[in-house]
């Protein structure tokens, strides 16, 4: 077991890679009631074209299949109610699917090992039938409707869809009702067998647990199961151009006021984890400096009747791209867009806010260690993105310099843009 001693916060994360390839992280939180476990595969909504295990050709799967699979792993051969079983042992269980990973988790305050065994066994014992697959389709259909019913979510989804050309990140994680109708149990098994091998998964545990006992328990549990040789995962290589798929789109919805979203698609060079972390930090600081709480940007827009009541911005940063999204109930499209562009390309007066946000970055990093959920998110973010847990985040935030920040923000190219307008109307 390897110790990762985190600098600046007096905290250690323990890491071990098991014989079957599963990576385990444990962070002890003394005195906390809640114990959490996250069992995660590096398989998400973007992995929908790949060479399935034991096959030679690429196969394209219906969109939304990773999310569908997440739902179906809660089924068991004996038709027992897994939610009830967890609840009987003080645990709350759930799962989420992202673009690049699917995560099964529980929290509890008692019987941690028993719940952990249940989680590992549940995820590692798939049981798909024609009936249980068909039963799930209307349920997920309602989940899709629920999200699509929200106009702000529609803006966000459409901006992604129009910004990307080939990258499946453009599609909604859950797919559409039409996509999920095509999913079969055979599809689910193929996806499962390709991506749910322990070597493609990791387990994160946070809480007041006995580290050695839990690690031994996991090893014993994994030893009782046999897995084929780790498959070589070959995803279809995506050639994503820098330009956007569609520069603008207009739709009609039953909204109280017109809503507009803008997105800037920014290509990112491949960097080392430290440099990538710094880049994400810089981008976040820059956007907050221009549009965040240290500005009166939104208030001025409202006061000058350029937006009605709200205007948000959100940076989405992946390994290859950043998509900077702005949206609100915009009254004057042209002026708002011009103001955004002016802000993004003005580099005066950045110094003071840089120092304040640096200080905040350090405070936030310290505060994270009083919250088990925040620590687990940090570990999972690091490992999903970088395949390592950095021990020097505190020093990285402490030592970033204004000059390198300025150099980065001046280089950002904002030319690839897309826009979505939701006009007020009755729809069909």
């Amino acid at each position: 077991m390897r110790s990762i001693k985190l600098k600046g916060v007096n905290k250690t994360i323990y890491e071990e890679k098991l014989d079957n390839g599963l990576t385990v992280f444990i962070c002890k939180m003394k005195g906390f009631e809640k114990k959490l476990a996250f069992f995660e595969t590096k398989y998400g909504s973007v992995n929908n074209e790949f060479i399935p295990i034991n096959k030679k050709e690429f196969k394209k799967y219906p969109l939304g299949i990773a999310h569908f699979l997440e739902h179906k792993l809660f089924e068991s051969a004996d038709n027992s109610n897994v939610f009830e079983q967890f609840q009987n042992d003080t645990a709350y269980v759930n799962a989420t699917t992202g673009h690049n990973s699917t995560n099964y988790f529980f929290d509890c305050n008692k019987k941690f090992n028993k719940n952990l065994k249940r989680l590992l066994d549940m995820v590692q014992s798939p049981y798909f039938t024609y009936e249980n697959v068909e039963k799930e389709k209307p349920i997920i259909g309602q989940e899709i409707d629920m999200y699509q019913n929200n106009p702000d979510q529609t803006i966000y989804d459409k901006l992604y869809y129009n910004a990307f050309v080939n990258d499946p990140i453009k599609y909604d994680i859950a797919g559409t009702k039409k996509d999920i109708k095509l999913i079969t149990k055979e599809d689910l098994y193929e996806c499962y067998n390709t991506f749910y091998h322990p070597s493609n998964m990791f387990l994160t545990i946070v809480g007041d647990v006995d580290i050695n006992n839990v690690m031994d328990f996991i090893k014993e549990n994994q030893k009782t199961k046999s897995f084929p040789k780790a498959p070589k995962i070959i995803n279809k290589k995506i050639d994503e151009p820098d330009y956007v798929d569609k520069k603008s789109e207009k739709i009609t919805r039953n909204v109280a006021a017109c809503k507009i979203g803008y997105a800037y698609k920014i290509k990112l060079d491949e960097l080392s984890p430290i440099e990538d972390l710094k880049r994400s930090f810089f981008l976040s600081i820059f956007l907050r400096t221009k549009f965040g709480e240290l500005t009166n940007f939104t208030e001025d827009l409202i006061k000058n009747k350029l937006v009605k009541s709200y205007f948000y911005y959100y940076p989405n940063i992946t390994k290859k791209y950043a998509l900077i999204v702005f949206y609100g109930d915009v009254l004057d499209d042209e002026k708002v867009k011009r103001l955004i562009d002016e802000k993004l390309t003005c580099f005066d007066d950045l110094k003071e806010s840089f120092e304040l946000y640096k200080k905040q970055g350090l405070s936030n990093y310290v505060k994270m260690f009083e919250n088990p959920n925040a620590i687990s998110s940090h570990i999972r973010y690091m490992y999903n993105k970088y395949d390592i847990i950095m021990d020097n985040c505190y020093d990285i935030y402490k030592n970033v310099s204004f000059d390198e920040y300025l150099e980065f923000v001046k280089k950002i190219d904002y030319k690839n843009q897309t826009k979505i307008v939701i006009e007020s109307g009755k729809g069909k």
């Binding site: 609840q87 009987n88 709350y92 629920m146 109280a256 009166n296 006061k303 709200y310 729809g427």
Partner: protein, 414 residues
């Protein structure tokens, strides 16, 4: 953990020494009997106060102060509990192990400025701040239908409320009557005529020598009954409203009658847990798992209002089937199993225990315990353990289905 209670300037102060966190969190509460307009005015006041103050007359300046003080967090909140309205203000900052020695004093100074020195002059709030708050609130009300579930909650409460505080939901006709001068008077009413209390938690908080912001505050005592009891009609009031949205949302309202303190405090959460709180509840099992009608179907119990409300997003054509099934599930609650009782109690006790992992959960619940005259967490756990199958089945006989509201959508994009 050590809890010290004392009175400063006649105001009840609770100091909770706990060292498992890295922060200190404090909250000041202003409680008084609710009036209909307060659901609008008190929300406007909370928005204005947290946005700027006299010392930091813009949101930008206030936020710079927060960042300078190690990213201190301030919040301003409003809640209605039964017949009472509470505005409360909260701060959270790193403790002195991670800051310079004067950080907490500076933070509490700003806390004082936010609450007691608003951005105002000549009996009015700053005009820009007032207009901004009004504009945001107006849009929020006007766009309610875009958030179908929130809209259904408001409509159902209005329908069930029968002019009691349950029916007090934010409406344009209230907002349209709000003037800057009137709102400032309401702020003074909050400051001068509330029942005030203060709670602080974190490392060594009992050693803090002075809470300056308590020196000039007046407090009043109110003894109005917390519980709201609205009229129960014999006939179920079913309403359908069409809208141009994608998903239809069904809300069902239940009323509770003649509950004892033990029933409303301890039996009701168990009943609600079995009925519709989570993935092992009856509603989730019947409506979602067995009939595939929805993604989520859940219930909430409001003990001070004596109501339970149920929500589910469904297809248009499933309205009658879903409503009938929900009614059947409620009827079926007259008999529960030992396993259901055990699971519900475990979940409630777990969530009580796990709430202690979050610092702010030491602060707000202390206020609520006093508001509801409830026991502390360890005693609550003991009381939950005492709930029997018979208690839950008896409670189900005091529950009546009174209302439903169907927000009928089913439209697609143009």
């Amino acid at each position: 953990m050590k809890i010290t209670r004392k009175k400063i300037n006649n105001i009840p102060v609770t100091l909770i020494d706990i060292d498992k966190f890295k922060s200190i969190c404090g909250a000041m509460f202003f409680k008084m009997p609710i009036e209909k307009e307060m659901v609008v005015t008190r929300n406007l006041i909370r928005n204005i106060l947290i946005h700027s103050c006299k010392k930091y007359p813009s949101n930008r300046l206030l936020n710079i102060n927060c960042l300078e003080n190690y990213d201190t967090y301030y919040s301003s909140n409003f809640r209605r509990d039964g017949n009472y309205a509470t505005n409360y203000f909260l701060f959270r900052t790193l403790d002195e192990r991670y800051t310079d020695k004067n950080n907490l004093n500076r933070v509490m100074d700003t806390f004082y400025e936010i609450i007691f020195n608003p951005n105002s002059s000549f009996g009015k709030f700053d005009e820009d701040e007032f207009n901004l708050a009004i504009q945001k609130r107006r849009s929020n009300i006007e766009s309610k239908k875009e958030r179908a579930e929130s809209y259904v909650i408001d409509k159902l409460y209005k329908q069930m409320g029968d002019n009691t505080p349950i029916s007090y939901v934010p409406e344009l006709e209230i907002l349209n009557k709000v003037t800057n001068e009137g709102l400032y008077k309401e702020y003074l009413n909050m400051i001068n005529n509330s029942e005030v209390s203060f709670v602080i938690a974190g490392k060594d908080v009992s050693k803090i020598k002075e809470f300056k912001f308590l020196n000039n505050v007046k407090t009043t005592k109110y003894d109005k009954n917390l519980q709201v009891n609205s009229k129960i009609n014999n006939k179920v009031n079913d309403t359908i409203e069409e809208y141009n949205g994608l998903q239809s949302v069904l809300g069902v309202g239940l009323k509770l009658k003649d509950l004892t303190y033990f029933e409303s405090t301890y039996v009701l959460p168990v009943y609600n847990n079995i009925l519709g709180s989570g993935a092992s509840s009856r509603l989730f099992d019947i409506i979602r798992e067995k009939n595939s009608l929805c993604y989520s179907c859940f219930s909430r119990a409001e003990k001070d209002d004596n109501i339970i409300d149920i929500y589910s997003g469904i297809e248009n054509q499933d309205y009658e089937k879903a409503l009938d099934l929900i009614k059947e599930v409620i009827q079926s609650m007259k008999k529960i199993t030992g396993d259901e009782l055990k699971r519900a109690k475990i979940e409630i006790i777990s969530s009580l225990k796990e709430s202690l992992d979050e610092l702010s959960n030491y602060v707000v619940p202390i206020y609520l315990n006093e508001l509801y005259n409830e026991e502390d967490i360890s005693k609550k756990i003991e009381e939950v353990k005492k709930v029997t199958k018979q208690d839950v089945e008896n409670l189900s006989k005091k529950i009546y289905i009174t209302d439903s509201f169907f927000f009928k959508g089913g439209k697609t994009d143009a």
